[in-house]
C-alpha cells in the first residue's frame, strides 16, 4: 500500500467550449486532511467528481487509492465515502431508514445509530427527509458519506447551511475521522473551516492550482508583514512592519503602561486567499 491516497497529473476537463479544469496536479497523502479552495466555477466540483469516478476526464493521469476511478470496481468504491455538493434524494424516507439502508452496502459499516448521533440528528431520526431543514438535510448527506467507514472521504461543500453549532460538531467529527487515519478531501468556501481542519490547502482558480500548502504558511503568509495598530488622541495609527515586536517595545516605552486598543495582526488566510485569487482572475 503506497502512502499516496490521491495522485493527479495534468488533469483536464472541458464542457463544450468551457474549460473547467486546465491542467491540475495534486498529491494527497494517506491520512491527510486536504481542503480545496477556490471561487465559484473554479473547477472544484469537477475535479472532485472526477476523483470519485462520477465524471470522465478529457486528459491527464488520476490515481485514487491506487486505481483509476474511471475503471475501478466495487471493492474500490467500498473504501470511499462521498458527499456530493447537492442531493435531494431519499425524500420519502426517514433519516434512520436511509442511514441503516446504505450501511448495508458496505463490508464494514459503522453503527448507523451512532452515525446519526455524530451528525446531530438523533432528535430527527424518525423524520422524513423531505421535512428536514436545509442544514439538517445536509447532515444526512454527511452521515451517508461516513457510514461505510471509508478510507478516503470526499466532501464537496459539506457545511453549506450548517448553523455555527452544527459546524463545530462537524469539525469535531472530521478531526475524529482524521485521528482514525481517514484521508479527507473537502472543498469549502469557509476559510476558517479550511484553517481549522486542513493539514494542507490547495487554492484553484479558473481550473488551475495557484497555491498549495499549510494554511498557516500558505503563499508566504507567515513571513508577510504584520500590522500593528493602536489609538492616539488624534485617532487610529497603524504600521506595517516585518518586526512587530520591536514596534511594540518602542510603544511600551512611549506609553508607560497600557497601549490603547493595541492589536498586532498577520494577514488572515482570507487576506492571503483573496490576494491569490486577485492575481489569477
Amino acid at each position: 500500500m503506497s502512502d499516496t491516497a490521491v495522485r493527479v497529473r495534468e488533469l483536464r476537463k472541458k464542457y463544450g467550449d468551457v474549460t473547467a479544469v486546465d491542467g491540475i496536479d495534486l498529491d494527497i497523502a494517506r491520512g491527510e486532511v486536504f481542503a480545496l479552495l477556490g471561487p465559484n466555477g473554479a473547477g472544484k466540483t469537477t475535479t472532485v467528481e472526477i476523483l470519485e469516478g462520477h465524471r470522465r476526464r478529457d486528459g491527464g493521469e488520476v490515481s485514487v487509492l491506487g486505481e483509476d476511478p474511471s475503471r475501478a470496481g466495487r471493492t474500490w468504491r467500498s473504501k470511499l465515502g462521498i458527499v456530493l455538493q447537492s442531493a435531494t434524494d431519499a425524500a420519502e424516507f426517514t433519516v434512520r431508514e436511509t442511514v441503516h439502508h446504505f450501511a448495508t452496502y458496505f463490508p464494514r459499516p459503522r453503527d448507523p445509530e451512532s452515525v446519526i448521533e455524530l451528525v446531530g440528528l438523533s432528535g430527527k431520526a424518525d423524520a422524513r427527509i423531505r421535512n428536514l431543514s436545509g442544514g439538517q438535510r445536509r447532515r444526512v448527506d454527511v452521515a451517508l458519506g461516513v457510514v461505510g467507514s471509508p478510507e478516503l472521504l470526499f466532501l464537496d461543500e459539506p457545511t453549506t447551511g450548517f448553523d455555527p453549532e452544527a459546524r463545530r460538531q462537524f469539525w469535531s467529527l472530521i478531526s475524529l475521522l482524521a485521528s482514525e487515519g481517514t484521508t479527507i478531501v473537502l472543498t469549502t468556501h469557509y476559510l476558517d473551516e479550511a484553517e481549522a481542519l486542513a493539514d494542507r490547502v490547495g487554492v484553484i482558480a479558473a481550473g488551475r492550482v495557484v497555491a498549495v500548502g499549510d494554511p498557516a504558511t500558505l503563499a508566504g503568509r507567515a513571513e508577510a508583514e504584520a500590522t500593528v495598530c493602536w489609538s492616539t488622541p488624534d485617532g487610529e495609527r497603524r504600521i506595517k512592519t516585518s518586526s512587530p515586536t520591536k514596534v511594540v517595545a518602542e510603544l511600551i516605552a512611549q506609553f508607560d503602561g497600557e497601549i490603547p486598543d493595541l492589536t498586532v495582526t498577520r494577514p488572515t488566510l482570507e487576506d492571503t486567499y483573496l490576494g491569490l485569487i486577485g492575481e489569477h482572475p
Binding site: 456530493l84 431519499a90 431508514e97 448521533e117 469535531s172
Partner: protein, 284 residues
C-alpha cells in the same frame, strides 16, 4: 462530547475479512426500499396504482351491455383491457416516471457512488414492479368478478395463457419503462413525457373502448405497441369463447401475441442497454 461514541460497529472482530454483501441480498434490500417509497409517494400511488381500478369501476358502470352479443358485456371487455393497462401502468409508466425522478433528484448518482452491484438496482426495481403488478392485476380481477360478472378462467390452458401474457407483457414494459426514464429532461416534464403517450396508446389499444370500435388506421398504429397484444391476450382469457367474433382479426391470434410481446422484450432490452445512464444528461 461525541468523541466517546463507539464508531466501529461491534461485529468487526467477528469478521476479520470483511466481504462485500451479495448482489441478491442488496437487490432484496432495494426492493423493500423501493416498495416503501412507491407507496409513500402519493402521486405515484394514486395515479399508477389506484387509477386503473377507479376507471374500471366508473367506466364499467357506465358501459352497460353495449357489446351486442348475448352474455358478453362491455364491462367484461373493459376489465380485460384494464388488466393489460394495469400491467403496463405498473411497469412502463411507473418506472418511466420513477427513474426520471431518481435521475434528477440525485438518487442514481448516489447509488453510482456506492459499492452496489449494478444488477442490485435493477433487481430492486423488478421486485417493486412485480409486487405492484400482481397486486394491481388481482385488484382489477376482483373488481371485474365482483362488480361486472367476469368469470375466472376455468381451464389450465387459459391460466397458462394468462401467465405468459402477464410475464412477457410485464418484462417488455419494464424494459421500455427503464429506457423511457431517460427521456424526460426535468422532474416536472416526467409525468407528461411518460403519461401522455401511454394514454394515447391505451385509447388506441382498446382499453377504454372496444378494439373493434377503434378506427382502422389507429388499430394498425396500436399494433406496433405491446399493449394491444396484451389486452387481446387477456380478452382470450377472461371473455367467453364466442366473444372471438368481436376481434377484428376474427381470432385471438395467440401466436402473434406471443411473437409481438417476445419481440418487444428483446427490443426493450436493447433500448435499455443503449440508453440507461446513471447521471443526468448534462452531468459530464
Amino acid at each position: 462530547m461525541t468523541t466517546t461514541l463507539p464508531l466501529r460497529s461491534t461485529d468487526i472482530e467477528a469478521d476479520p475479512v470483511p466481504r462485500l454483501p451479495s448482489a441478491a441480498r442488496l437487490a432484496l434490500k432495494r426492493g423493500a426500499m423501493e416498495l416503501k417509497g412507491f407507496f409513500r409517494t402519493k402521486g405515484q400511488f394514486i395515479v399508477i396504482f389506484s387509477l386503473p381500478a377507479i376507471m374500471l369501476m366508473l367506466l364499467g358502470a357506465m358501459s352497460g351491455s353495449r357489446a351486442g352479443l348475448p352474455g358478453i358485456t362491455g364491462a367484461q371487455i373493459l376489465t380485460a383491457g384494464m388488466i393489460g393497462a394495469g400491467i403496463m401502468g405498473t411497469s412502463f409508466q411507473n418506472l418511466g416516471i420513477n427513474i426520471a425522478l431518481e435521475r434528477h433528484d440525485g438518487t442514481l448518482k448516489r447509488l453510482y457512488g456506492m459499492p452496489m452491484p449494478r444488477v442490485a438496482y435493477f433487481g430492486g426495481k423488478i421486485i417493486q414492479v412485480l409486487v405492484c403488478m400482481l397486486a394491481e392485476v388481482a385488484l382489477l380481477i376482483t373488481v371485474g368478478v365482483l362488480m361486472f360478472g367476469v368469470a375466472l378462467p376455468t381451464t389450465v390452458n387459459q391460466w397458462l395463457t394468462f401467465t405468459w401474457v402477464l410475464v412477457l407483457g410485464g418484462i417488455s414494459c419494464t424494459f421500455l419503462g427503464i429506457a423511457a426514464g431517460s427521456l424526460p429532461k426535468s422532474t416536472r416534464g416526467a409525468n407528461a413525457v411518460i403519461t401522455l403517450p401511454f394514454l394515447i396508446v391505451q385509447f388506441c389499444s382498446g382499453v377504454y373502448i372496444p378494439f373493434s370500435d377503434v378506427p382502422g388506421f389507429l388499430q394498425i398504429f396500436a399494433s406496433i405497441f405491446p399493449l394491444k397484444w396484451m389486452t387481446q391476450g387477456m380478452r382470450s382469457v377472461f371473455l367467453p369463447e364466442q366473444a372471438v367474433v368481436l376481434e377484428p382479426a376474427g381470432s385471438w391470434e395467440l401466436p402473434m401475441v406471443a411473437l409481438a410481446l417476445g419481440g418487444w422484450c428483446l427490443l426493450g432490452l436493447i433500448l435499455c442497454l443503449k440508453t440507461f445512464r446513471w447521471t443526468a444528461r448534462d452531468d459530464g
